[in-house]
Every structure is written in C-alpha cells, then in structure tokens.
C-alpha cells in the first residue's frame, strides 16, 4: 500500500503526494517542533524536509529497505540540524556556563505536562543542548553519532546532554513548585 503510494509520488502524482504528506505531517511536525526554537522555525524545517523527501523518494525506493517513516524522520532531523547550522551566530551565543548541579530531584510522577509545555521547556534550553537532548534521549543517537553530526567532540555532546537535562529538571522543579502553591 505504502509502496504503491511512494511509486505514485515518484511519478509526480500530486494527489498521492498530498496523501503521503498528510499521512506523515502530524508526526513529523512533532519531530521538527522538538528541534526548533519556535513554531515558525518548525514549519520551515518541516517544509524543507518534505521537499527533500519528495525529491529523494527514488533513492529510498532504490535502497529498498528500512522503515519509511524512520527514513523520513532522519530527513527531518537532518533538516533541523541544517537549520541550526544556518543560524551560526545563534549557536555561538550558546551559554557555556558550567553551573553546579542543583542537587534537587523532581518527582515527575506528580506532574503530567501537556505536549505544548514540553515544547516550551525544550524551547527554553540552549539550542545545542536541546539538539543533543533530542538526538540522544528522544531519537536514539549515540554520543559518537551526535558528535559527528554536529561537528563537536563526544565530551561536548555529553556535556550538552548533562546541561540540557539540568535545565529541563530545573524547569520541572519550578513547575511542580508552582503547581503545589496553586493547589494549596
């Protein structure tokens, strides 16, 4: 079914392309949104990714193996990384402040954040930490792969993950505290 759809897309059948687009859109937007600093950026990344996908469907077909959705997701992630790279000065403004651990742990079981809140939390951490956190924690890349993709060292990748987690944990802690006050 999917294979037939892809073939029709390669033949530039606009209806099929739309169908495939709609099929993937929701999930891929979530992926892009995770990497982007805001919704507009996510749309940019998404559109770029979809264009790449449609352009390279033939390549996917010739490879013949692997999950289609996984392939598209990789395209989206690469688009997101391209986007990030294109904003070089943005990256350069990253905060490399080695702060000590807060030492507080958060019982996240108490708190169920909506997806939008998760987006916002990711938006609030530094771009590189967000990217590394996404790649490592959510998309299953190893530090070595991340280092290659982002042109950084494995150590830096680990550090960004650590900082990203710290920042997210701090945000969670604040939200829990806020909720507790509100409920009281």
């Amino acid at each position: 079914m999917q294979s037939d759809l892809i073939k029709r897309c390669i033949r530039n059948n606009r209806k099929a392309q739309k169908e495939l687009y709609e099929m993937l859109y929701g999930h891929m937007l979530v992926v892009c949104r995770r990497y982007a600093r805001n919704e507009d950026d996510a749309f940019e990344i998404l559109n770029t990714g979809f264009l790449k996908m449609f352009r390279n469907l033939k390549k996917y077909q010739s490879m013949g193996k692997g999950s289609f959705e996984g392939w598209v997701k990789r395209i989206m992630i690469n688009s997101a990384l391209d986007h990030l790279r294109s904003q070089k000065s943005y990256l350069e403004r990253m905060n490399f402040d080695y702060e000590a651990e807060t030492g507080q742990e958060t019982n996240m079981g108490l708190y169920n954040l909506e997806v939008e809140e998760l987006y916002r939390m990711l938006e609030d951490i530094t771009p590189m930490s967000r990217t590394v956190f996404n790649l490592y924690a959510l998309d299953g890349y190893s530090h070595k792969e991340i280092a290659e993709k982002l042109g950084i060292s494995v150590g830096t990748s680990k550090w960004h993950l650590y900082i990203g987690r710290q920042q997210l944990q701090e945000q969670l802690r604040q939200k829990v505290a806020y909720r507790a006050v509100a409920n009281a």
Binding site: L29, R34, N47, F50, R55, F133, L138, R165
Partner: protein, 430 residues
Amino acid sequence: MLEPGSDIDKHFKDGFEGQGDLRGLEANWEVVQAGLPKAVLGSVLLGKLIHGKIAGVSLSTLSVVTAVTLTVFSTSETPPDIYEPLGNGNAELSAAQVFSDEYFEAQAQAETRNWLATSSVAVSDVQAIVLPTETPVQATLASRASKTPIRINHRFRLLQSKPFVGLPNVYRDDCPIMPLGWNYSFLEDENGFAEVPPHVVRQIDSAVLASMPPAPNFKNRLLARWEVSFIGGATWGKGFSNLSTEEGNWELSPLIGVGLDYNINTRLGIIGEVHYLRRNGNRLRTSTTEEQFFLRREEVTRQVTIQSLEYLHLPISARYRLNNLHSFTGGMFTSILLNTSSERLDVVESNDGYQEANLGSKKGYMHGLNRVSLGLTLGYELQASRRVAFGARMNQGLNDLTQESMSLENGVNSTDLQRDYQVYVRLKLY
C-alpha cells in the same frame, strides 16, 4: 526518588510518543507544493540561461533543491506592453508566485533591473517576497499578493558606508540580502565582514524596504567592490653590504602607504598597494680616487657609504579570506628606488701626510644601484574590527639590488636580495 537523567528522558519520550500535530497542514502543503517538480525553479532558470536571456546565473546547493541564487546583470529587451506600472509601494508575492514561470519570464524581459537583484531563496522558506518600487512585473503580480505578516529581528546590519551592489529585495532579519554580482553580499555582522551563504528567508519587511536607497547603477555596483585603506607600520630588514667581511644590520624602518582592494567575492580579492619604504642598516660602500700633481702629489679618495635606501614599494597580492577574521595574502612586488642617504668621507693623502674629512650625510647618490627590483610577498591579516586590520608579511626580492658595475671595495661582490618582514595596521578609509 527518581534518577534525574533517565527519568527526564523517559518523561519527554512518553510525552511525545504517538503525538501528532496537524496545525498548518494546508498552508504548509501549499508551500511544499510550490517547490515540487511542477514548479522546479532550476530548470526554468537553466532554460533561460541556455536561451541567453539571463546573463549570469548560479545555482546554489542549499538544502532545498529549489534554493536558487540568481544573478542578473543585463537585460536588453523592453518589457511587454501588457505590464503597467504599479506606482509607489511594494507588492508581496507568495512563494508560488515568485517561483512561477511568469515571474522569471518577466524578470528576464524587464528593462528595469532594480528588482532583479539576486536572491537566494528556498521556496519552502519564503512566505513572501517584496518587490521594491514600481516594476512591470510587480504590476502584474501585485494583484495576487499574499498577506503575509511581518516579523523581523536583528542579526546582520548593512554596510552603510558603500553603495549597494544590487537593490535588495530579499531581507533576512531586518537586513537586505544582496548577493548581486558573482554571489557577493555586502552585509556585515558584529565581527565585521560577513558572507551571506544561501539563506533562508522567512518574512520580509516592506517598511524597511521602502526606506532603502534606490538601486545603484552598474558603475556603482562595481565601485562597491573597492576598498581604500591606509597602511602604517614598520619594516624589519637586514641591510646589505658589498663587503664580505661586513654584514648589514637588522634594523627597523618605517612603512607607510595606501592600499586599494578589489573584492572579487567574499573570499577572494586583489590588493594593490603603494608604500613608501625605507631600508636602513645598509653598508654599501663605494669609493673613487683622484690623484693630483700640482706642486705636490695629492691623492683624494672619496668614500661613500650608502646607509639607507628609500623605495616606492608596489605590492600586488591576492587575498583569500579564511573567515571574517583571518585572511592570507600572496603576490608580487615591485620596488622603485627613489633616493638614498649616504655618509661621505674624503681621505686625502699628500706629501704632508694623511687626512680624513667627514663630509656628513647626503642624499641622492644612486650610482651602482638598480632602480627597479622585483620580489614575492606573503602575508597574513587579522581583521580586528570592521575598519582595522593587523597584518604581517614577508618580502623576498628576486633580483640583486646592486649593479655588477658598482665599484666594490675589496673586489668582493655579493648578491644583495631584499628580504624584510613587515608588521602593519590597515585602516579602512572607504
């Protein structure tokens, strides 16, 4: 208690698991659709290039296949009558419109080239492009203008000190992007000169555009590539000597001059410079002897020791900018000898004995010196700010500065090649 790292990972993973977001599906589909094969920009441009309607076209390899860098330098045909002037104001065009055949056809035919300024635009990223001033194409397409909201922020600022190479019609972060003419951009960031790579245009501010100066003519476009700078510094060089037993000294000498840069693109440039260069520490000694017999014998030997040489130093180099900060130069120089400064000593031997008379220093003794010399130059520059750069370079002469005919003491000849090291400050004036 929970372990922070893995729990946060899990929390986010679970949070996003199975989530889908269909917001903006239709709007984004329109953008994607505009970039799909039916409206492939590359082939349209290529077709035009083949038919000679567009003089200069370069396709960039941005992540999106439809990203294009278009450079238009000359068009000769007048616009078709079907287009009417729009009057003052700007039109916003959707990506689909901008990348349409009609748009490019009209660009190729329009006599007014203002708005033909190069744009590196990814169709997927462009929500609208603003066309400045009145143009025939604008009139045609304005009626279909989209209503894209404007959002801008600051990242680059424009080099105001020089005319634009092309009229900006695409903006990024509040600044016009003008890679007109060999894909060259005149934007700078806080570090000074900045290249603008094929970029993403998100939204465009027509208000900013309206305040921009009009497009320069072709002459100004060329002028915009030139830079004039003042150069001041020091030369550290070893003077030369025609005495095998006597070495020239390493001495510092002043260096002062002006430079003229022509930027071919953001990385490559050509620099021509004119310096006044003084080479101290020489011990070029020559002497002439005269014998007189009038009542008594008297032999007068005039010894001239050339201490310093003054040159008009004319290096011409190619510059390669590694990035905003570092650049390397390499090229050739010509030195034209302007003057010398020499110490004079008369030694008189007569029947009365031996007498020395120091005549002090004097300028202008040029005998035995080559007026023109050639050499190689190799250097490095650090761009400290937008206007100031620090540089260092080495000059190595290729031909002898002294002539074979020069009257040498001790009968020893040597090869006197210029070699010196320069440190300087370059101050950009224009």
